[in-house]
């Protein structure tokens, strides 16, 4: 599903180059649950953003389902990513001005889904995540775990093949974290969604089927 070939990224700081990623080669198949681990500054998040097509490398190639992502035009790339990828963030990143219901509905608007269908889809996912009672609340009225639940609901509502999660439990206590990880496992097992998560915790990484360790921008073997 995902193939990264010789990906490097650096920032030029005057004459010096600050490398973030060096010569990364990764292949991830459909249905995998991959954890990316590594110390702070090892390039985990950057790698995730690259795979999510919201960041560009300085060098290298990226094939998503056989298509060379970086040669696509901006518009095609965003179409591709809109269709297949869902994002989950450490800081949840819900829109403060919208209710739970409206937050979950937002991606559907950009996917041009009819109003009736949207209603059904949002109702379904609220039900599945057991947050029906919270649908009219605003993000600030929810606990962190609940906010992340909404964040995941928003990511999966468009039925993406791939979910990219950037430390999804980083701001949560351990019980909330477990719930989220259970949810990811279910999505992976029952619906066959490919999941790539960045995490600090060995425990969370153990939910996945494979772990990639990064150190100083390189894959540690």
């Amino acid at each position: 599903m995902i193939r990264l070939k010789d990906i490097s990224k650096w920032y030029s700081n005057g004459s010096a180059k600050a490398h973030i990623l060096r010569h990364i080669d990764i292949e991830i198949n459909e249905g995998e649950f991959v954890s990316i681990m590594g110390p702070s500054g090892s390039g985990k998040s950057t790698l995730l953003h690259l795979m999510g097509m919201i960041d560009d490398p300085s060098e290298g190639e990226y094939f998503f389902e056989g298509e060379s992502v970086f040669t696509l035009k901006e518009k095609q790339r965003s179409e591709l990513y809109k269709k297949h990828i869902g994002f989950v963030f450490q800081a949840y990143h819900l829109i403060d001005e919208l209710t739970v219901y409206e937050n979950i509905e937002t991606p559907l608007l950009y996917h041009k889904i009819s109003s009736a269908e949207r209603k059904a889809m949002v109702a379904d996912i609220l039900d599945r995540f057991q947050i029906v009672g919270k649908k009219d609340l605003f993000p600030e009225q929810l606990s962190g775990g609940q906010q992340q639940l909404v964040g995941i609901a928003r990511a999966v509502i468009t039925k993406p093949k791939l979910i990219l999660a950037d430390e999804p439990t980083g701001n949560l206590n351990s019980k909330q974290g477990e719930e989220i990880m259970d949810l990811f496992t279910r999505l992976n097992k029952e619906e066959g969604v490919t999941i790539i998560q960045v995490t600090h915790s060995e425990k969370n990484a153990s939910y996945g089927s494979r772990t990639i360790n990064l150190l100083d921008g390189k894959i540690a073997l």
Partner: protein, 786 residues
């Protein structure tokens, strides 16, 4: 989707009440100002355009050639109309049209002086003034016809049918009512309470029948599909063909245009009211632009706060186009709310605006074109103010945004600063303009006119008064409060008549020189308070004074005598002597230079002139008025008592300038206020942004004034740049405006000092309001928020 956007926008507005208020208020004030000016401009442009024959109606203009200059007036010989219709077939109809006259109307016991016009028989066929009674084709046919306004019909014939009734005019002639006018449309610059036959007037004013004399206006209507050029070509030499040696040429100007294009220079059109239409249109656009800039500025400044939302939307699939749509939509929401507020404000202040501009403007809610204009204006404002923020925000990269490491893009910051500079430049230009207009008006108001305008009254010399003026004068002088009395052909405001009929030994006869002339009676110099440079005033003590002349300095220069007193001068064939030279005084408005003026005593068979001029004793105006009323009633029982104060009448001649003065003050105030709203918002935002920095600095020992200076410095620099940009532009614009006055102020450096200081002070006041708050905040608190 729209609902989602709308909700976000709406909740954003609610969550940021201060910013929303600044945004909406700023835009609403800008729109209010644009709406008012739009109404005014629309009204001005519609003036005199309602006549069905508009495209065929023309005003006859006359170029007069004197001393190498061309003066252009709407005056013609009084027999022009009747002849030109016969001689030039393309001219279908023509009518002389007299200046406003105020004859005495008498019906039984009711009498009063009424304002109206003398016209000719086709007048009502040419112009679309409707009659409620009578027939436009025949109403003015008979030479003793009078057409009354409804007001006059009700005044003199309450409850009766006025048609066919008789009215006595000036206790001299009888006229018959042949029609009643419908209300004259507001968009007509011609206003009158009656129309009477021009022939009736011409009977008393035989001079008007001479091809060499000019005065009455003339309007013509061309036949359909006539070429104006052809008619103008025929008219060029027309007067000369009637009067050899004439130095005037006539041409036509479209009647509908004559209201806005009334100034002429060297025989060519040179603006007029259209200039104010243009200036105010520009002001409307400028103020709206300032308000739009506020919106842009605040929106981009606040984009930091919105950036997370933008990032999220992008990540969940929003395209750039959709985001642009969202933000434009938001600014449209704000702009529609602002328009709502603006309409309310306009409704509220329209009465005072009308009083100020002397108009009857109204919001025409029932009119589709009104709404389409409003909606168009709102859309335009929304799109202009939303465009930059939309482009700016939609191009934020989600990755940067979501990492929370959004740095203010230096180019965006530069753009915002440029906007503030632009905004303040415009405001400073308006402030400078306001000060210059104020000073010029003040200058006019207080300029030494060369005569004492205070305590100077004048009344019309009419009826029995005209015959018994010397007795009247004697009696009046015995009354309390009266200091001097004289009479003259012209009022103290304006010496309207001029003549070429002046010769002296050694005159270059090839040159036509025009002298203003004003026949007067004794005591004119004392009463007016004119200074004599040389020689003496007219006096009873010298028997032969009717053949003597007083000239002003300008006339003395034209004549060229080194020492004019005692030298020979001939006027209208009367050979006489110059007995004195008057210091130049303004016998006309300050718009025109002082012209050469000759005063002479009225001759016996001329009457005593048209005006009694009276100087009251200082501070005894009330007694003087009572005395005058008593004497006028006694001498002229059939006439109402009317009087004018010279200083008030002079002020009235600068009505347009006074209105501009007031309006410019309001608009400048509005502009600076809106700019400050924006500045206030921006400072609030900056202070918020730098809360942490301020906290750290304070912990490290920075003082409150130090922080204040730090926060204010940036903004002060922007205002200074604005001053540098605005000053030359304002100087240029105001220099141009001042050219309309023959006597004007210099735009000294003090104007700039005042305006610039005001701008800086206002800006700093605005800035410090927020800056003080930020600087005084407890650092422990502000650091904890991180």
């Amino acid at each position: 989707m729209l609902k989602n956007y709308f909700k976000t926008a709406w909740r954003n507005l609610l969550n940021n009440k201060l910013f929303s208020f600044i945004n909406i208020m700023g835009l609403a004030l800008g729109m209010t100002c644009s709406l008012l000016i739009m109404l005014w401009v629309k009204d001005e442009l519609a003036m005199d355009k309602f006549h069905a024959n508009d495209s065929r109606l023309y005003r006859v203009m006359e170029n007069q050639f004197f001393s190498g200059a061309i003066s252009t007036f709407p005056s013609t010989p009084g027999i022009f109309a009747e002849n030109v219709v016969k001689d030039i077939p393309e001219i279908q109809m023509a009518s002389q049209f007299l200046w406003e006259e105020e004859p005495l109307f008498t019906v039984n016991d009711t009498f009063d002086k009424e304002k109206g016009r003398y016209v000719q028989k086709d007048f009502l066929k040419m112009f679309s003034f409707k009659l409620t009674k009578g027939d436009v084709a025949t109403a003015l046919a008979r030479p003793d016809a009078v057409v009354l306004s409804k007001k006059l019909a009700d005044k003199y014939f309450k409850g009766q049918d006025p048609m066919g009734k008789m009215i006595r005019i000036d206790n001299r002639e009888n006229v018959i009512v042949t029609g009643v006018l419908d209300e004259i449309p507001k968009s007509s610059s011609l206003k009158f309470d009656f129309l009477m036959s021009f022939d009736l007037w011409a009977k008393q004013n035989t001079w008007a029948k001479d091809w060499g004399n000019n005065g009455p206006r003339c309007y013509v209507m061309l036949a359909p599909n006539t070429s104006l050029e052809k008619v103008n070509a025929k008219l060029k030499g027309y007067i000369k063909s009637k009067n050899k040696g004439s130095n005037v040429e006539v041409f036509l100007q479209n009647y509908g245009e004559s209201y806005l294009y009334s100034n002429w220079e060297d025989g060519k059109p040179n603006g007029g009211r259209i200039e104010y239409v243009r200036i105010f249109s520009v002001v409307a656009i400028v103020i709206l632009l300032i308000a739009c800039i506020n919106f842009m500025n605040l929106a981009t400044a606040r984009s930091l706060k919105r950036s997370r939302e933008i990032g999220v939307r992008k990540v969940v699939g929003a395209s750039k186009r959709q985001l642009i749509g969202q933000f434009i939509g938001e600014s449209l929401l704000v702009s529609f709310m602002a328009m709502g507020a603006a309409l309310l404000i306009v409704l509220f202040i329209l009465p005072s605006f009308n009083a100020l501009t002397d108009k009857q403007l109204a919001l025409n809610f029932g009119d589709a074109s009104f709404w389409s204009t409003i909606i168009l204006l709102t859309l335009l404002t929304g799109i202009i103010s939303g465009s930059y923020p939309a482009l700016f925000m939609s191009s934020l990269k989600p990755i940067v945004v979501l990492k929370g490491a959004l740095k203010i893009n230096p180019s965006a910051a530069f753009f915002r600063k440029a906007l503030v500079v632009f905004q303040f430049s415009l405001s400073i230009i308006l402030i400078l303009g306001m000060i210059v207009v104020y000073r010029q008006i003040d200058f006019i108001h207080n300029k030494n006119l060369g005569f004492a305008r205070e305590d100077l009254l004048f009344i019309p010399l009419e009826g029995e008064l005209a015959k018994n003026f010397p007795t009247f004068k004697q009696e009046l002088l015995k009354q309390p409060g009266i200091k001097n009395v004289t009479s003259a052909s012209s009022s103290p405001l304006e010496v309207g008549s001029s003549t070429q009929g002046v010769t002296w030994p050694g005159k270059d006869t090839t040159k036509l020189i025009l002298f203003s002339s004003n026949p007067i009676s004794y005591d004119y110099i004392n009463t007016m308070g004119i200074q004599l440079v040389n020689g003496r005033d007219f006096s009873n003590g010298y028997g032969t004074d009717t053949l003597n002349y007083l000239v002003n300095e300008a006339a003395a220069r034209k004549i060229g005598y080194k020492d004019p007193v005692g030298k020979e001068l001939t006027m209208w064939g009367d050979k006489g002597t110059i007995i004195g030279v008057m210091k130049d005084f303004h016998h006309n408005s300050l718009h025109v230079p002082i012209e050469p003026l000759i005063l002479r005593l009225v001759k016996k068979d001329w009457g005593y002139g048209s005006f009694v001029i009276i100087r009251s004793e200082a501070g005894k105006t009330k007694q003087a008025l009572a005395s005058m009323e008593k004497m006028v009633k006694q001498f002229n029982p059939g006439f109402p008592f009317r009087y004018n104060f010279t200083d008030q009448e002079i002020s009235k001649t600068y009505k347009t300038e006074f209105t501009v003065n007031k309006l410019s003050r309001y608009f400048a105030f509005l502009a600076i206020f809106i700019s400050c709203l924006g500045l206030f918002g921006l400072v609030t935002f900056t202070a918020e942004q730098r809360t942490k920095e301020i906290g750290v600095r304070k912990v490290l020992g920075a003082s409150v004034p130090g922080i204040l200076a730090m926060l204010s410095k940036d903004f002060l620099r922007l205002v200074l740049i604005a001053i540098v940009i605005a000053s030359p532009l304002a100087w240029w614009a105001m220099h141009k405006w001042l050219q309309d006055f023959a006597y004007r102020i210099d735009i000294g450096w003090s104007v700039f000092v005042i305006a610039d200081f005001a701008a800086i002070a206002i800006a700093m006041l605005t800035v410090s309001f927020q800056a003080v708050k930020a600087a005084r905040a407890n650092p422990v608190k502000s650091l904890r928020t991180e």
